[in-house]
């Protein structure tokens, strides 16, 4: 049974963020008091400033920054919006309330800070992420989409009303939604030895039914397609705090391969953020080479599948190992296979045969 070190990580993070917000607030307060026009320095998110860092194996922002000044009349409005969002984030974290992107858009209207549309407010949220170098979840703005987790993991809530309350994530067979309360909970203990992330809800349910958690001592995570940030944050914490290896199972196509890659090394869209990646995560299937090996029923790749293959082959992260090799095989066979394809050989074929192979293989990857 793995136990977490005593230090409470999530509370720690919150206090640094609060400090950072206060620091920015104080700076701006002083500027105004002295009659100076305050400004923010925001790391530039333009394409030319996004570079791949081989050391930490993810996209990061380069050294370019843009100054947003309240003296410039064309920036004054967005400066005020950013200022408001910092103020709003401070309230959210201070009062331990959570919010969504859409919520933020409507909340602004109570303060005479008008956003044209949600796209504009979403953009300002990314600005604040860049200024604070923290994902929006850290200041309690969560995405709408939910994914799930199941397995022997005891957590302790930190959200108001549930503080100190503990839950084991194997108590409910449908799994637990990965929402704000779960993401901010303390991870107490687990008997699991591996985290299995699967792309599809259907397979997640199959795994629970077949007791994969017990048979393989695993925590099962449903990413619901491309993994949301909260899910990626949880995966990272499971890996970092509980030292669990993470393996990823996706459909056998180019999109599946990229879902695995984003969990491993993030996306260019989130280049301004660190702490969302699990560089040691392993993609174990379904590979292109598995299609032949396991004689899986296939469907032909579409034009856009093929184009995506060529695009990814130019990405620095796909220049070596299985990442490159599998893309090339996909391009060669021009066919793809879904996780459900294993059902051709019986509903439990995937958990009985394929999964054990792959978990074994993962140790050597």
């Amino acid at each position: 049974m793995k136990k977490k070190p005593k230090k409470k990580v999530s509370e720690d993070k919150q206090s640094t963020l609060a400090d950072l917000l206060r620091k920015h607030g104080a700076q701006i307060y002083d500027d105004l008091d002295k009659g100076n026009f305050p400004k923010f320095s925001i790391p530039s998110r333009s394409v030319s400033n996004i570079v791949y860092d081989k050391k930490i194996r993810q996209y990061i922002l380069g050294a370019n920054t843009a100054v947003r000044s309240s003296r410039n009349s064309s920036q004054l409005r967005s400066f005020t919006q950013l200022m408001w969002l910092a103020f709003f984030a401070n309230r959210l974290t201070g009062q331990k309330k959570s919010s969504t992107l859409r919520d933020v858009y409507y909340s602004s209207q109570a303060f005479e800070v008008d956003f044209e549309d949600q796209a504009e407010s979403d953009n300002i949220i990314v600005d604040l992420e860049a200024v604070l170098a923290s994902p929006r979840e850290s200041f309690h703005v969560f995405p709408e989409e939910r994914s799930s987790v199941f397995g022997d993991l005891t957590i302790e809530y930190t959200v108001p009303g549930y503080q100190g309350k503990k839950t084991n994530l194997s108590d409910h067979p449908d799994g637990y939604a990965i929402g704000p309360s779960l993401t901010t909970a303390e991870l107490i203990e687990t008997s699991a030895e591996v985290v299995i992330a699967v792309e599809k809800g259907g397979l997640f349910t199959r795994f629970v039914e077949e007791q994969v958690d017990k048979k393989f001592k695993a925590i099962i995570v449903d990413t619901g397609g491309q993994a949301p940030r909260s899910t990626r944050t949880l995966l990272k914490r499971l890996h970092d705090e509980l030292s669990l290896p993470v393996v990823i199972l996706t459909d056998g196509d180019v999109y599946g391969e990229h879902i695995a890659m984003v969990i491993k090394s993030g996306s260019a869209n989130a280049a301004h953020l660190r702490g969302l990646t699990v560089p040691d995560a392993k993609w174990v299937g379904v590979w292109a080479t598995d299609i032949e090996k396991y004689k899986l029923p296939t469907i032909p790749m579409t034009e856009s599948d093929i184009k995506r293959c060529h695009d990814l082959l130019k990405d620095p992260r796909y220049q070596e190992g299985i990442w490159k090799k599998e893309l090339e095989v996909f391009l060669k066979i021009k066919r793809k296979a879904e996780l459900e394809a294993f059902s051709k050989y019986g509903l439990t074929n995937i958990t009985d045969k394929y999964l054990p192979h792959k978990l074994e293989l993962a140790k050597s990857l």
Binding site: A26, P38, N72, F79, A86
Partner: protein, 612 residues
């Protein structure tokens, strides 16, 4: 069908009666508008010519207000112009093609034909007479009621009386079929725009509904009146040359009783019967005082060697200068007789000169504007004619060659613009000021230029903002002080305006912008008979572009000053809105109680922007 066709001559009024569509009298709507136009233009032209500040009053009244359109209206136009001599009135308004507007100078219309057409139209549709009241001296007024005999092209006077009045001027009143409900807006536009381009005139219009539109004069100076000038060689065609030749050309005089009377009078021989030699002696002495036709008759007599008695019984058939033969018909003998002419004789030279016409160089210098002897000689060389070539002897082919050369010779001076009557910058500016009360106004008059030998001058004004309520660029087009109201689509002025990239002049969106364009020329190159749009001659287009360019630049600098002022206010509003919000948010964020002291930041001026 009969193989035989008969050709009959028709009178001009008959011709126009049959082709009234051409003159703008195709339907009741259009006819009412055209009649208004013709009458007002006639009045304004009459005043212009005499340097009188025009005061024109027009009224349109329905004969029976209850009836639906189209119906009969009474159109009356009264002016304070010079009036028309009593005895001229029947001819001026009772015949077609009688007018005083011949000659080359700028006038609103040509030939005064349109007004007569309106009268003709009125008579055709209502069979009611025209009423003319005219006073030239401001004391006695002649009042005529008359009809036009279309087939004979002659006036029929129904009533003529005189009475005492206090003011000179002319008043015309006709009854005609019209449609005011359809033509009304067009007529009001016409009156409005005419006032805009004639700021020295007072124009009043009482419409059939009892509404009065009155535009009083805003300037008291009239543009200098144009002078009548000779044509420019570039503007000439073969037909014009032929007419000019006819004008100067010798015609074999008819030696009838009238002519003989004239000759006797000039020689001072009223009733005396002198012999041939006595007559010729007298001729020698009086030669210099004789008129041209008399000189010609005397030269002929010198070869015929006849006295008046005998002369009256002959008719000259041919004067053959080349073969020195003179042929006449003798009524008494009923035969043709030829006599030789002595080339050495004084009279032969006179006759030769008359018959053959002027030399080419003398024709050019005397008959055309701005052609001196040097240019005439250079032209003769260019056209490959001898300078002393007599134009009277030119064949048709040679005339065509001469015309072509006149049009293509580049060394003629530019046409003389003194025949033009532009409005002038100051009156145009005042006119526009009165109508638009704009925030910005600029006008320009370009120098004279020419196309195909016709001089022209462009005047243009541009107005922005103020009381201009229309959105988008509104163009008022004028040609020789006539508003061009319709068919604007293909007009050269519109083309130039639309080709302009207005954003370069800081004019965006749907600006409250008015452009007034006035083209003055002895001949406006209209595209259609309707005379509503001007063709895009490159020379005219170029001048329009230059005029618009100079005005747009002025507008641009106005707009940028205005833009800066507006931006400063806008900026100040922005800071006043957002800085307090920033203060509010950062106070809570910094954990302070009291807001920072930011007030001075939004009250102090100016805020120097920081651009990144």
């Amino acid at each position: 069908m009969s193989s035989k066709e008969t050709f009959t001559q028709i009178s001009p009024s008959e011709f126009f009666y049959r082709n009234r569509d051409l003159a703008g009298f195709s339907n009741p709507t259009r006819s009412l508008y055209t009649a208004v136009r013709e009458f007002i233009e006639n009045s304004l032209d009459a005043c212009d010519q005499k340097g009188i500040l025009p005061d024109v009053h027009m009224s349109i009244k329905a004969v029976d207000a209850e009836k639906p359109d189209p119906k009969q209206y009474i159109l009356s136009v009264r002016d304070n112009g010079p009036g028309i001599e009593s005895k001229q009135v029947p001819l001026a308004f009772g015949t077609v093609l009688y007018g005083s507007k011949f000659g080359l100078k700028q006038a609103r219309g040509m030939f005064g034909l349109g007004a007569t057409m309106a009268i003709l139209y009125g008579q055709i549709t209502t069979n009611k007479p025209l009423i003319v009241k005219s006073s030239t001296d401001g004391k006695i007024q002649d009042e005529y009621e008359m009809l036009l005999d279309i087939q004979k092209n002659k006036p029929v006077i129904l009533k003529h009386e005189t009475k005492e009045v206090a003011k000179a001027g002319l008043s015309l009143s006709i009854r005609l079929e019209g449609d005011y409900s359809k033509a009304g807006s067009k007529i009001r536009d016409y009156v409005y725009q005419t006032s805009l381009i004639t700021p020295y005139a007072t124009i009043t219009f009482d419409d059939p509904k009892g509404d009065r539109y009155r535009y009083t004069k805003v300037v008291r100076t009239m543009p200098p009146s144009p002078t009548i000038i000779r044509p420019h060689p570039h503007g000439i065609d073969v037909e014009t040359i032929r007419r000019m030749l006819l004008d100067t050309h010798y015609q074999i005089p008819a030696v009838d009783d009238n002519m003989i009377l004239k000759v006797r009078k000039e020689l001072g021989l009223a009733n005396k019967n002198l012999s041939y030699s006595e007559i010729m002696d007298k001729t020698q002495k009086k030669w210099k005082a004789l008129t041209r036709p008399v000189r010609t008759v005397m030269a002929l007599m010198s070869f015929l060697k006849m006295d008046f008695e005998k002369l009256s019984k002959t008719t000259i058939e041919e004067i053959d200068i080349g073969n020195k033969k003179l042929t006449y018909w003798d009524f008494g003998e009923s035969q043709s007789v030829s006599v030789d002419m002595d080339p050495e004789s004084f009279y032969y030279k006179q006759l030769a000169s008359t018959v053959q016409g002027e030399t080419l160089t003398s024709f050019l210098t005397k008959r055309f504007q701005r052609v001196g002897p040097t240019t005439a000689l250079k032209f003769a060389e260019f056209a490959k004619f001898k300078p002393e070539h007599r134009i009277g002897t030119m064949t048709n082919q040679e005339l065509v060659k001469l015309t072509d050369a006149l049009q293509s010779f580049d060394d003629f001076m530019a046409p003389d613009p003194s025949c033009l009557a532009p409005l002038g910058e100051s009156p145009l500016e005042k006119g526009m000021e009165r109508f638009f009360e704009p925030d910005f106004l600029a006008v320009v008059q370009r120098g004279a230029s020419a196309y195909s030998g016709f001089p022209f001058i462009i005047e243009m004004g541009i107005a922005y903002g103020g009381k201009i309520s229309s959105r988008g660029i509104n163009v008022y087009r004028f040609a020789n002080r006539i508003p061009l109201l319709y068919d604007e689509g293909s007009d050269v002025v519109l083309k130039v305006v639309n080709d302009t990239d207005w954003s370069r002049y800081k004019v965006k969106g749907e600006p409250p912008l008015v452009i007034v364009s006035h083209i003055c020329s002895t001949r406006i190159p209209y595209k259609t008979v309707g005379k509503e749009n001007v063709a895009d001659r490159p020379e005219i287009e170029r001048e329009l572009k230059l005029a618009l360019l100079s005005l747009s630049r002025k507008l641009s600098s106005f707009m940028s000053k205005r833009g800066q002022a507006e931006a400063a206010i806008k900026r100040k509003n922005l800071y006043s809105k957002y800085i307090p919000l920033i203060a509010q948010f950062c106070t809570e964020l910094a954990g302070k109680k009291k807001e920072p002291n930011y007030k001075k930041m939004i009250t102090e001026e100016p805020i120097v922007e920081e651009k990144t």
